[in-house]
Symmetry: C2
Subunit: 239 residues, 2 copies
DNA sequence: CGTCGCTTGTGAACAGGTGCACAAAGCGCT
DNA sequence: AGCGCTTTGTGCACCTGTTCACAAGCGACG
């Protein structure tokens, strides 16, 4: 008997799909809070977040039973509970490696600071950029990477380097004790199992859109092209 | 009898999860092609793409039976087939709305051009930026949005504006006939059902990492804090 | 104080995706 | 030609996530 336990709770008690949506709820709730709205129903919150109300309720039920039947959820309280569940009550220092166009944009992105993240360091491989100040942070040279990471006890690294440098930078980050990496470089990073990597790839998203775009236009023009024998055909059971 | 048909093939023949991975395969294959490698096994390709070999084979099987048993897949041919399946054989013009830090980075991002996407227009709300040239494209004012979209027959729009402007811009894009939107603004966009929206949110990714980070450190410090009664416990069946 | 309407929280059915394991199929060597 | 090695393609069981539908719970109002 290998202790089956519930597979979802084996890792953390909160399913991955739910974790991925909590930040959205958090943002929407923030907007509601600013409007002075005291409570929201699952229906209202779900609509604003672009999900079904049942899904939202199930998501929230994984954090506990906050919410009052017949009334809804207290906005402030729910913000706090989601923040706590996500671990945003503690402040994580992050380092951004690579201050090209994208790194520049990230350093100036307000969304980081407002959610408990603090950009502790900017690092670039170009010596000429060292000393430059962006968003109030001085750029330092890649050679100092190890020193900087340990100095600030950074556990989250953001890679915004060219693809060719990404794996090397990643290895060095991991060697310094970084356990979470957000990768913007178009490469698949190899890391030990204990390290979490999330990737954001602009071009992949576009390609996915292109696929759906193709599907639409194929349907529209009625091209017999690939394989779109679709059209539902609800009641053509005539033999 | 409502024609059950296979749910996956109802929409396009290729499951969404597979479509999301095809661009990764494509990129890895591109690297292999540059190395002059003529063929790859599912094992080799899967390792480079960071997925299991069975999953890769199942993914590829959805496009057809390209690949030779005992040998593997012809790199060049597979590149072509995946490109075709994704609809990258035709060139999609895209417009980027909002040329702040992020829009600037996107305009200079080489990954777009190399995959059959062409940045046809840059648009910004700030009149002072109109006329400025970035990546060889002249920035034009938001007022001309409708004209530009129709002029270039753009069906894919990239929104890189501040959150406050995103919904408005999106509505205008949709009104002009744009059917796919890539949204970088931290907002949930409301669109008609016929329009595809994909969102990329930098801060959400970080928050997801923070969650896992929290989980790790909680386990390490042995804090009884939330609910982490983990550690697998393979054979502690002693009562 | 009882009743009524509204909203949460959840059990259960369902759908989609993943991974295993193996039969089918090609290649090269003898 | 035949044999054995390799690798694909896929049926099947599992598991995660989604959706439905409803009982339980809470407040308001008469």
């Amino acid at each position: 008997m290998p202790v089956p336990r519930d597979a979802a709770s084996r890792r953390s008690g909160i399913p991955d799909a739910t974790v991925a949506r909590l930040p959205i709820y958090l943002r929407v709730l923030g907007a509601f809070a600013e409007s002075g709205l005291p409570t929201v129903s699952s229906e209202g919150l779900a609509a604003a977040a672009g999900v079904g109300s049942a899904k939202l309720r199930k998501d929230l039920s994984h954090l506990g039973s906050y919410g009052t039947r017949g009334v809804g959820y207290d906005v402030e309280y729910l913000v706090y509970q989601i923040s706590r569940a996500l671990g945003l009550t503690q402040h994580y220092p992050v380092a951004i490696i690579g201050v090209g166009n994208l790194g520049h944009a990230l350093a100036n992105y307000a969304g980081f600071g407002t959610r408990g993240f603090q950009i502790a360091a900017l690092v670039d491989a170009d010596p000429r950029r060292a000393g430059e100040v962006i968003a109030g942070i001085e750029i330092r040279h890649l050679d100092e990477l190890e020193t900087i990471i340990k100095e600030h006890e950074i556990s989250i690294g953001v890679i915004a380097t060219p693809a060719a440098a990404a794996q090397d930078v990643c290895d060095r980050l991991v060697a310094c004790g970084v356990t979470s990496v957000l990768n913007f470089a178009p490469t698949v990073l190899a890391v030990p199992e204990s390290v979490d990597v999330r990737k954001v790839d602009l071009s992949i998203e576009l390609q996915i859109l292109a696929f759906h775009e193709q599907r639409k236009s194929a349907g529209l023009h009625g091209e017999p092209g690939v394989a779109v024998p679709d059209v539902v055909r609800t009641s053509v059971a005539s033999a």
